[in-house]
Amino acid sequence: MGQQSNLKRFWRHGDALWEALLVALALAFLVLVLHIGWMLWQDSELSRRAFGWRFLIPTAISHWNPAKGLFQAWPSIYGTLVTSLVAIVLAVPISIGIAIFLAEICPPWLRLPLNYLVEMLAAVPSVVYGLWGIFVFLPAVAVSAGNFLAATLGKVPGLMALFHGPIPTSGLSRLGASFILTIMIIPTIAAVSRDVFLAIPREQREAALALGATHWEVIWDVLIPYGASGFLGAIILGLGRALGETMAVTMVIGNSVEGSYSLLRPGYTMASIIANEFAEAVKALHSSALMEIGLILFGITLLVNVMARILVWRVSSRVPGR
């Protein structure tokens, strides 16, 4: 009897329906995310069957030719890896510097506006960076940087393959793409690193100061080691953004496959080759190969992001003594 009236109240109030709605939506969301991977896997079947593992392994840098039915992911994987790595190398010192300034040094009245500005840097749409890159930034900066690199590092025997010129006069090149990526990932790395600094307990700083350390020594010898895995997470998060960035890179990398590994020459990234060719891919094998590149990109960014989250979690959950 009491059982029945409980059940009645439960239904009349609509809580069962509400709970069911929430669970259904949450499940649908999980299915959506899983379905992205599943759909890419299915639609790339033709290409996976035709090429197998050969699709992935490093081969000649020019092995992408839709007209001849020649599809290998290596040229675009190489482009993605090299542009992202160069961007990370350039962005990390700058971003950590910004994070230190924002979290540790900057006077309070300046903190809020600076935080806004860094966030604005992240909010500028990718196409706008691309447009500015093509017409302003590449001709002004990338070309001279490229010529300088070709004249210096390009003459060093071991590095010749990576830095041989000449850079195109338009500046459209892997180097140009790396520069634009650098600008785009700085806010990500800086913002996460700033939060890592802010999560470090005050006692850590006070203890070091009490031992006579200078402000810089506190930061360099105490805070950075303490938050190391958090900073690593921030960097990997930035890497994730660089790997998947599409429009700005598509606009400045030149989109061509030529037989060169040089940073100063045009190339492709995984994202840019999809953006550039998918709409025009009439042959089933061509679009399937692009789907497989999408699948690889999905897999890599998934891995990278999960790793970064775990690292950042570890710092923010480790707050001893409180």
Binding site: L40, F135, T246, L297, V306
Partner: protein
């Protein structure tokens, strides 16, 4: 002697301190240069080509001056509105669920999936929506674009809702339940309104991000120079279509959006088109940065009260 060395070392340490601390300030300035450079350039260059025609006319034939991007403005509004409609209610409820059940398998699954989805490159989302929507409808469409941008917005909405709901004091919820309100009523009338400012901020930030996205639209909306809602509606009314049919007609058209048009124009050899690309960039920057600023100012204002 040792004292002198110590003195020397102290000066050295002080010097390092000052040099490194000022370096961080300089690096901050360095990173902001591109922001000012882009913004300044876009304002100067884009402002020159922004006029009334830009907002009210369809594109001029290739190579001719004049014309506007009305088609892309209407397209952007439609796609982003549709995306918000799809993602905001669902995202808020999913975020609410994740906040209320942080330690159940489904709750953790949702949080994990949110992290994963926010890291998925937008071009991959475009491929996905091409596969599930465009292929099935046999046409590039407003609808497909809306779905694609909704997927882009979802993580932002879910995460901000989750964080904000967690900040609502449990006593508020318990008070409502103690008064006999059912769980759903408590959520809709007490908990979510208490977290409203944060949720709205999250939605606005999601809209700002979606409005500037190009990659997910490349193979979902494709582009359409002649898209004009009023003309389409008039055409449909002319042949006696019902409102449902008109909506269907409009939603299944290929369509342009501002970022997509910007990208296309930037690739064309006609200077008129490139100039208009700069004008679009200005509109987009104002829209995106304006929305961002609005979200933050509003949040700060509400917090202070």
């Amino acid at each position: 002697m040792g004292g002198v060395r110590f003195e020397h070392r102290y000066t050295y340490r002080k010097a390092v301190n000052i040099i490194m601390l000022s370096t961080t300030g300089l690096l901050t300035l360095l990173a902001l240069i591109p922001l000012f450079w882009v913004t300044g350039y876009v304002i100067v260059k884009g402002g020159r080509y922004l006029d009334l025609d830009f907002f009210t006319r369809l594109p001029a034939p290739l190579g001719q001056p004049g014309g506007g991007v009305l088609h892309a403005i209407e397209g952007s509004i439609l796609i982003v509105a549709l995306a918000t409609l799809f993602s905001a209610p669902a995202g808020v409820l999913i975020g609410y669920y994740a906040a209320r059940h942080p330690n159940t398998p489904l709750g953790m699954g949702v949080r994990f999936a949110t992290d994963v989805l926010s890291g998925v490159p937008s071009i991959v989302v475009g491929l996905f929506v091409y596969g599930v929507v465009v292929v099935r409808l046999h046409t590039f469409s407003v609808l497909a674009g809306g779905v694609a941008l909704a997927i882009i917005m979802l993580p932002t909405v879910i995460r901000s809702t989750e964080e904000m709901v967690k900040l609502v004091p449990p006593s508020l919820r318990e008070a409502a339940l103690a008064l006999g309100a059912p769980e759903w009523r408590t959520a809709i009338s007490v908990v979510l309104p208490a977290a409203l400012e944060g949720i709205v901020t999250g939605v606005i930030l999601g809209v700002a991000r979606a409005a500037g996205e190009t990659a997910p639209l490349l193979f979902t909306t494709l582009g359409n120079d002649n898209f004009e809602v009023i003309r389409l509606a008039k055409l449909a009314i002319g042949v006696g279509a019902s409102p449902w049919e008109i909506a269907r007609l409009i939603l299944t058209q290929p369509v342009d959006a501002l970022p997509l048009t910007l990208w296309k124009y930037s690739q064309q050899p006609y200077p008129e088109r490139v100039n208009q690309a700069w004008a679009i960039a200005l509109v987009l920057m104002m829209l995106v940065l304006g929305l961002n600023l609005m979200a933050r100012v509003w949040l700060a204002y509400r917090r202070r009260r």
